[in-house]
Symmetry: C2
Subunit: 133 residues, 2 copies
């Protein structure tokens, strides 16, 4: 399968697919006789795997590290497990922060008619009270 089709399936631009391969974020894709990339199911599943982490907000460097370890074989399992556990922590943290942002938004939306203006001293007091400061 050519890069264009792989791009349509994965939603990643051809330029980006080549870029990700260049920096080792995804393993090298098989080539045909003329050196043109020929994506197969394995290539696609790597992209799918990697993009889930990327969309979760993980830095490409961490994902790259994981992928490179995976390509090196069995003896890198402990290192990979460590990365996964670290990443999980990071994502849980992110989840909590997004939840906090959502809380602020819902608060603003709920009390929209009263509270959407510039912040005033009274609002600050109310704010503090709500957070026990």
């Amino acid at each position: 399968m050519l890069i264009k089709q792989a791009s349509e399936i994965t939603g990643v631009s051809p330029d980006n697919l080549r870029y990700y391969e260049r920096i080792g974020l995804i393993p090298e894709v098989p080539r045909n006789a003329s050196g043109i990339r020929d994506y197969d199911d394995v290539s696609l599943s790597w992209i799918d795997f990697v993009m889930r982490f990327k969309r979760g907000g993980m830095p490409l460097e961490s994902i790259r590290e994981y992928v490179q370890l995976a390509l090196q074989g069995e003896e890198t399992k402990p290192a990979r497990k460590a990365i996964l556990m670290e990443s999980k922590e990071m994502l849980l943290e992110k989840l909590a922060q997004i939840q906090e942002s959502l809380d602020v938004i819902d608060y603003k939306l709920d009390t929209y008619d009263q509270k959407c203006g510039p912040i005033t001293l009274e609002m600050v007091e109310e704010w503090k009270k709500q957070r026990n400061l």
Copy 2:
């Protein structure tokens, strides 16, 4: 309160506080007679407010837009409400994506001893089955 203390309270570096003010992400902070920033509760609550959005992953430009509207008064309420609702959508989307990343990680961790190696064709098949592809 001097910038250093404001920095300690908010966890945002002084350089960054000045930068955020420069780009209009937070409103101008009051100054003392010699032109030195003098943070008060209102300044701090703006920073707190803005940082919640930022930590949620919202682009600074969107936050800036909201803050600038809020500074312009009552007649910008509808626009601000729209931004909040848009942001909420975006954050919910992010939440879902992070949840997906976490699912992948948990899957990998659960079946660690069997599945942590390079991706194989059998794994691709299992993968597809699990996602009904």
